[in-house]
Symmetry: C2
């Protein structure tokens, strides 16, 4: 029935102040208010409805997304939204489109890599959307290895121009969003060639389409790369393929902040340190980690609410069946993901402070912490996106058969989210970078003190020798016992790899040979970061009745879940006995019982609107079954009782007249 809250009893069970938890989740009262206001603005505007999407074909869907983007841009201007507000607005519209590239890639690239003069010229155009840009780096055969890009930018002394060219099929730019149909400009990464010499890969501003009639310019071939995973998901975006046939651009369209080409064709490095790029990288990865927590929280919210509504088995004397959420098997899959959403949320907040720190140091030309910051963000990007993608699918499976319906919201969320495992640094490649940093840190330790998230490596001696002293399940409810376990596991895995690499004559060969072990060691290091950050966060003040206590429970769930999942590491490194590991697992089950009464209130704390969730199963009011019905009715196949094709292809079979049918 409409207007009834089917989850009311669940909400009554909550032992904490939900409104205060919303603030804790958002990071601050201000942050909560901004996002809440924008979420409601989007949810209440019919232009932004999403339920019709599954019924649209590619072209209609794309057109509809263009409409939403235009309407959003109008709102942003008419309502004089701040940059922060605009960002939330776009987030809640929840449909990938070209403006994502404009604001997250094109403008930041101009800001970060453009000279002052270039910024004066191009930024106002981009900021007012008189031009629409994309970021053309990846090529058909070149992803992770940027130095392998084939597109060339050859300096022509005579005309003072660069000639941008795609020498091979595999050099075609492939994947950039917005590039196929919308972008008028692109920042194109190409091999700079002057007088036959190669000067590395640089960015160039290249116009793709006429600002008059939007037609592609001469020498440019551009198109869409076709459908991607899912029905909606990224299919609202025109990811493109782009080829250049000797396209000429003025010399001043090479991005010249860090290095320049002079009129004379001289390649000059400016005194701007190259390391500045790290600032952007840290910022991009902070956003990715923050997005991971949002996506995971969304899936967890849907699965938790539906697990409280759905009943299966366990009926006594004709009474209702058991709520699925009361099964331990359900809890053991769901609650660690709930805890992970919070863990990722807090680590993303912490990354903001790292970002500020890196920025200040860069300004002071202190590059000493960069390798650590780089490794830390690479690892967290990898850990959080992998866990989130898997977590979304797990939530979908936790919804049983109905999770397979697009109306559950989960299939599309997965299809939309999963590329995060690949873009901005493929996850395994990222972990290998972390490993390189860790091995180097260990090898340099005799004369260089590890810093930041690697500082525990400086306490190697005790960590290598002292073992765990936990004796009861309760002993595991102790932050220092947990941190020590994770530190020891990480340090021992890293040292083991380092020692084995040292035995190889060729270190590179050793690194390659042990790469799978190195990835496991890196993961151990990154999990330590997330666990420690969660624990650190709990040492700060967190207002609201029961809020900190509930978060403590989740923190333990997160840590002990990882400990059980990676039991092999903890046992193999000799830090734990199997008895101690088993006590941790016992404690974990006790913790699930503590989460249970708060589960619905915890997912309410994410403050997701029904519009944002776009899930019948995850509705706030729990009115699932009638709404599943309603959603189903809208499928085009239900337009008529007798579907298109029945008379042509089914009736002849039934009437045994197939030989007469035209097939």
């Amino acid at each position: 029935m409409e207007g009834v809250d089917y989850l009311r009893d669940e909400r009554k069970k909550s032992e904490f102040d939900v409104e205060a938890m919303k603030v804790a989740w958002a990071g601050s009262r201000e942050a909560f208010q901004v996002s809440d206001r924008m979420a409601k603005l989007v949810a209440n505007d019919p232009v932004f409805e999403k339920f019709s999407k599954p019924t649209l074909g590619r072209k209609e869907m794309f057109k509809n997304t263009l409409r939403k983007a235009a309407y959003a841009w109008k709102l942003i201007n008419d309502l004089h939204l701040t940059e922060e507000e605009a960002k939330w607005l776009r987030h809640y519209i929840d449909e990938p489109n070209y403006t994502d590239l404009q604001w997250e890639m094109f403008v930041p690239a101009l800001e970060g890599q453009g000279s002052e003069e270039q910024k004066r010229k191009w930024l106002p155009l981009a900021q007012t959307m008189q031009i629409i840009g994309t970021y053309a780096q990846t090529e058909l055969a070149h992803g992770s290895n940027v130095q392998g890009l084939e597109t060339t930018a050859t300096f022509d002394h005579e005309t003072d121009q660069f000639v941008i060219h795609s020498p091979t099929l595999t050099s075609s730019k492939w994947w950039p969003g917005g590039m196929a149909k919308v972008a008028t400009h692109a920042i194109v990464y190409a091999r700079l060639i002057i007088d036959g010499h190669f000067y590395g890969v640089h960015g160039f501003i290249v116009q793709l389409r006429s600002l008059e009639d939007h037609s592609t310019l001469p020498g440019i071939t551009v198109g869409d790369i076709g459908m991607k995973f899912g029905h909606g998901a990224y299919n609202t975006m025109d990811n493109g393929v782009l080829r250049f046939d000797r396209v000429r651009i003025p010399r001043n369209q090479m991005l010249m902040r860090v290095s320049q080409v002079t009129k004379e064709g001289k390649y000059v490095q400016s005194d701007v340190p190259r390391q500045l790029a790290y600032g952007t990288m840290v910022s991009v990865r902070q956003t990715i980690v923050s997005d991971a927590s949002k996506a995971l929280s969304r899936a967890v919210c849907i699965a938790t609410r539906y697990s409280a509504i759905r009943r299966q088995f366990g009926s006594h004397d004709g009474g209702p069946e058991t709520q699925v959420i009361d099964y331990k098997t359900q809890q053991s899959r769901l609650f660690p993901l709930l805890a992970s959403a919070f863990a990722f949320r807090f680590v993303s907040e912490w990354l903001k402070s790292l970002q500020t720190d890196v920025k200040q140091r860069l300004e002071a030309k202190d590059f000493s912490t960069l390798p650590e910051a780089h490794a830390c963000t690479a690892g967290l990007k990898s850990l959080t996106t992998a866990a989130t993608a898997d977590g979304i699918e797990e939530c979908r499976k936790l919804c049983g058969g109905h999770g397979y319906l697009i109306s559950s919201g989960l299939p599309e969320l997965y299809a939309y989210y999963v590329p995060a495992c690949t873009y901005e640094g493929e996850n395994v490649v990222m972990m290998l970078q972390v490993a390189r940093f860790l091995v180097k840190t260990v090898s340099e330790m005799s004369y260089k003190q590890p810093v930041g998230t690697a500082d525990y490596l400086g306490r190697m001696a005790p960590l290598m020798h002292n073992n765990c002293d936990v004796q009861t399940a309760e002993d595991w409810l102790n932050p220092s016992a947990i941190v020590k376990a994770f530190e020891t596991r990480a340090v021992r895995m890293i040292v083991d790899c380092s020692q084995r690499i040292a035995k190889f004559e060729n270190q590179e060969e050793g690194f390659a040979e042990l790469s799978t072990d190195l990835v496991e060691a890196s993961l151990a290091h990154c999990q330590l970061i997330v666990v420690s950050t969660f624990i650190q966060r709990l040492k700060q003040e967190i207002p609201g009745k029961g809020v900190k206590q509930s978060l403590e429970v989740l923190c333990y769930v997160y840590a002990l879940y990882l400990l059980h999942k990676h039991q092999g590491d903890f046992l193999a490194t000799g830090y734990l006995t199997s008895k101690q590991a088993s006590l941790a697992n016992d404690q974990l089950k006790t913790l699930y019982s503590k989460v249970r009464p708060n589960a619905i209130a915890l997912v309410d704390s994410f403050n997701h609107t029904d519009h944002y969730l776009s899930s019948v199963l995850g509705r706030y009011d729990g009115n699932v079954y009638p709404k599943l019905y309603e959603a189903a009715r809208k499928d085009p196949l239900n337009d008529s009782d007798i579907a298109d094709g029945i008379n042509q292809y089914v009736q002849p079979i039934l009437k045994q007249k197939l030989h007469l049918a035209k097939l």
Copy 2:
């Protein structure tokens, strides 16, 4: 270039006879020939092309699938295909449609549950497709728990009819394939009520649509439940919702093989043993396990071929970059899946012999092995479908960004495959059934000898006490060392759970409390089955140069990969030292190097056509990049340079005239 084999060098490296391996994979020369002939028949017929699917809307796609189904039925009749051939034909058409339900659910249900008289009446109609049937069991709020179904079938003495009724919204039949638009009949599972008494859930044949004009009959409300995961995948199928408003059927349309209702309204059990249903269950699960190996082999074939084509990093002196397949991190993710495909293939072949055994025993009314057979098939269903679904996604990720394109074939394969984790017994529920069997077996051991796949439990005493004696990495290349490790791990986990359950006053409560541990123990048991079956298979003759040797390598890869992945179990149960676990991991890396030269030939052995793979990345000739281009060009967004919506929604932004635009 067309006609060039870009994988020729890879194929030359192979150390075994590929044609002989094809036979080993297929099971026999005859099996190979049938499937090969059908694969080619489908691949060469333009009616069965699949590449246009991503560009079709739901209605067009559905209609196109109806056309293919009709055409296939015509072929089956015109060419006088055998049942076996017809099955392969439908398999290679590779689009879920209503005939799947007809042949896999409707006809078998009539055969298994119909009385002789009913079979005489209904089977000829179904077998000639004069009626088209579906299997209406699952309801909107009732999946796993069949006994909780709400639909009622009330006997009406006066008219000698049953009244089929949907008393609530949640009792709506929901999910059955083919039900929305095509099926004329359904086997409907409903609570049998006679004179106010409930006699359990039974199947009833109910006509849904007119055989004249295909319109729905009075009292029937039927429709499609809407879009599902992916773009194509199961969206070619009209999964339906169905409600009954007091629909009357003659008494003789209750399926009466096992129990009957007489004219007088008496409920009578026949002397046909109820256990016969187990025969069907074993057969259905054998098919599911066999399908798992097919789906996984398909994904592995794509990822392996593309990993040999794709190059990234590692270029020396301007030479080509390293083939991705040469990276240990790639091998460690890919080769265990390749090995799993073979492992699942062999276990599915073995299940056929189990099926025969169960059938013979049922006929002899020997029910002694049924619980073991039931647990074994439930567990293997769960293990293989879960590993396959995850494996397909892993293969997709192993293809980098391009794996996200529908033209890679992998997103749709995943979306199509993943419901196997949920249907025919949700995977965790299945594992809990296995656990129940194992705990019971242990508790009864003093007077009952475990049989079949559980027989090792009878050797509990030595397995509980003797530990592993492996001393070198080479020692792991020993089938008995491996089987003993897996047996010990399983037995110790099961015994540990049993002992802990015994401490609870209420055994059911103990079972619930320890359910997550029980699921882990069941998995250990099932992995042992797969490993042992693989090893047993290798003891048989396998003709062909190098075939058995290559399979031995894969068998060790499969076993040692599991051992490393579940290292925690092996260490916690005390069977292995961490040194021994580490030696297994070292051996695993050596094995990867042995797989490497044979990788392409191994996936060639699956004998998948390019049509069946429907993957640009997995093409037999490796001509990936030009074909990615070609596939992209077909997207509807590429119909015109200036896409629909650009003039309306993008131009006004660029020209700063958004205030004038109609949004």
